[in-house]
Amino acid sequence: MVTVAPGARTFSGSKAEQANAAELFRLMQTVGRFMSVNASIRLALDSATEFFADQNISQKEILAAVAANPDVFRLDETGDVPAILATRAGTFGAARRVDRSHDFATRLMTPMPKRETGDDMLRPRPRLDSSWSIFDVQTTDLDARPAASLAQSFALTAPVEEAIAEAAEIEIEEIVAVEPARTITVPVAATAATDVSEASDADLEAALIERLGSDGQVAMFDGQWMLEDRVPRFSKGELRKLKDYIAEQEQPLTDEVLIQDVLDVRPRSADFDLMRFALNYRLSKEHRDFEFVGTSGQRFWSTSALAAIGTSIRKPNEIGTDYKYLLDEAPASPSYRSRKELSHVLTFYEFALGLLPYDSEMLELMGAPVMPNQRTAVLTFECPQVYTTYLVELRYPTPNRGGFIVGLDDFYTENLVPGALLSIRATDNDGHFVVEYASATSQSQRLLELEERKQRYVFRPTSFACGVIEENLLTEELWSSLNGEKPLDDKTRRRPESVVAATFERLGKQFEGGGYTANFAQLFAGVNIERPFSEKLLRSILENDDTGAFAKDPDGPDDYTYIPGSPA
């Protein structure tokens, strides 16, 4: 695997610029860790700025490092947002120089040098018998009237007394200088066929993508290959029709829908597969107008005119920042599609925003991104219990934001409550999933809600018929201290340890000495009211606390204590 370790590479500029360049290069390599060595890695400048904010590296310093190292980084300002470009190899490679010395135009306009012709190169003309040469006449003489007799006007000249060379006897000498024999050296074929007997299919696939994927004569899309000049092209008018149709439908559309509805190619048509490949390949080259947001099983295409899927209560970037802890929990080697089903207990945060976390379990349920820099994937979640299929969006993680699935607001509010138990099952189509909830007898309890207008917590009677985990239910009985309270301020909310401490206090179970105790499951439900936590993150905070604020409670099987006054 050819990559350049940031530490092994030297950067230009001042010491600070070199250090910043090294960090930036490390970040770029992380972003493009699944890309081929020479593929261009693209990272929005804003994303890099946000990532380095914790390290006190400003955008100005990032740009200075980029400018100081033009061989390693480039700044692309042609798009909607400025982006930093780099490659895993650390260089952009020398531009291919096309050899034009032998093309038609060059040869036509470049005359050959005049060949040297010495006397010895002249070919002697074979002479006729001198008896044929009677007159030595100048043509100008013929114009003048002969003053004398015709015989006198001609001057007989002596026959040429050169050696009479009989043509048959004269050896025609080679007048062309013998050019030295041209030697054409045929390079010995040093590139024999690769030995693939020991290589796995995955290795060969990676080799194909790396070598053929960057070959201009080959077109590739989602595991299919074709010679590029055989892939049908679309006119500007057809591309515009495709774009307008997606905008009219107000949602992303699959390649099959686009081919049938816009290009009028029927599924049973002999060239359906060819046209579908052509559509996907050609649209993947139209970055400005089209974005691939699908999976292998459902190849959705979107345009910039479409509204975002999911909640508008919180911005996607902010949600991604909330899920940043998932980056630390992500596996080094993702095992996509290795899991058939998962179970999940819905939290208050997820219920309020219609979300699911793209944690390690969800990653194992989903397929890998189809495109190298794919940002999102539109999925379909079918709930047989309510005869409804929901269009949701998976936002893939970025270097500084976690991934999540958004768009389940309606499903949650119509059928579930925080604390409900869900199961999500994969199907043969890697873009389609079946989601079900545990059914239960209908019941009514006073459950926590956030009153939107006043932005205060209230408890309202709520009827539900879904199975719930009792300890995860946010009932007034357990969480009465929240009644009328405001959500946590941003400063507290930003620090997970502070959220945990506040949750202990909200639960309000004090013991002698002024400390608080809480059961892990209840704590987990409580910390997940305003920002997401995984069980792993929560346990890490509770069990690895150096300040002594949190500790295991020996009185309970899974209880913890919090003592205020110790800085959390």
């Binding site: 030995d195 290795d203 790396e210 070959d215 290959w225 010679l227």
Partner: protein, 43 residues
């Protein structure tokens, strides 16, 4: 601790061969088929 295997690198000869395979196809060729072609060629 075992060393990670060297990644497979295709040669120019392999590329020419694969291009010839694609040239003989009138429809998109799946990756699987190209891998089989490489293996069959070796055998």
């Amino acid at each position: 601790m075992s060393q990670p295997a060297e990644p497979v690198r295709l040669t120019d000869d392999d590329v020419d061969f694969l291009v010839s395979v694609l040239r003989s196809a009138t429809e998109p060729v799946p990756t699987r088929a190209l891998i089989e072609a490489l293996r069959t060629r070796q055998n």
